[in-house]
Amino acid sequence: MTQTWDINGAELSSRLFLGTAEYSSLDALRQSIESSAPGLITVSLRRENAAGKGQSFWNIIKEFDIPVLPNTAGCYGVEEAVTTAEMAREVFDTNRIKLEVIGDDYTLQPDPYGLLLATEKLIDKGFEVYPYMTDDLVLAQRLVDLGCNILMPWGSPIGSGRGLNNVYALRQLRERFPDKTLVIDAGLGAPSHAAQAMEMGYDAVLLNTAVAKAGNAPLMASAFAKAIEAGRSAYLSGIIAKQEHATPSTPLLDKPFWHQEKS
């Protein structure tokens, strides 16, 4: 019933992109992936000791036949982000990179300056860049000019659960880049936030904290998966326009007692 869709030539089975961090256990992570069947799974790189603690996580992800999207989480510098991307490409064997260049400690806001520099270098190196960005229209245009086909504006700060802080700016982005793949990345808290984004015509939603930190992660994962499908279907179907006044749903034609006085 879910339709597959195309992103830069790859066919994805879902418009939910799911993060793998912050779950109470690897088992909770596995169950959340199973219950939501995401189209992409985001992963990261960390220092590894000989004990190989990262390997068990990776073995779980490999079980699933779902493409991964490595990130450069926590990078503040351009060189750092680029080198991390190169290591990720080798480890995960994919050109996809969720490019995070952080510009602020408190909001984890993307740095609109470093992001452009890193994007340019990575596209030169043959990467398929998924830029984690703000909702800035001019930044979006610069990224598109550099060759990005995918833009991932934040809804609100990572892990804040605030939903869409600036619906106006996000609406503008959709309107101005009708042919690009737009993904809301970060800040969502509830499925209704995800549905709202999809109803606006966004192509996908990337989530992590809202699922991983929910009371019941696998159940919340499936909730988001459904909400994203719901929002997409609503966008495709066409939503009724808001009215200032009521219009009766039940037609009044042939209503009985029509001659009666109002009480």
Binding site: E48, A50, W58
Partner: protein
């Protein structure tokens, strides 16, 4: 000579290349990637790069991420 590996300094006597180093450190069967002095070293270059004194080496593996 002294090197830094994943933020911790370490002494190694004789020079070796990345391939030998990973073996000696017990990474042989691990899925990892390597950077030296902030530059990525591809697997295919492990034999070619000889570790220098004061090299800063990063060895990374898959981990949870959002």
């Amino acid at each position: 000579m002294k090197i830094t590996i994943n933020g911790t300094s370490k002494s190694i006597d004789d020079t070796m290349n990345i391939h030998d180093f990973l073996l000696s450190e017990g990474y042989e069967d691990k899925l990892v990637a390597v950077a030296v002095n902030n530059h990525f070293i591809a697997r295919t270059s492990y034999d070619n790069y000889t570790i220098q004194d004061r090299d800063i080496i990063e060895i990374v593996a898959p981990m949870q991420g959002g």
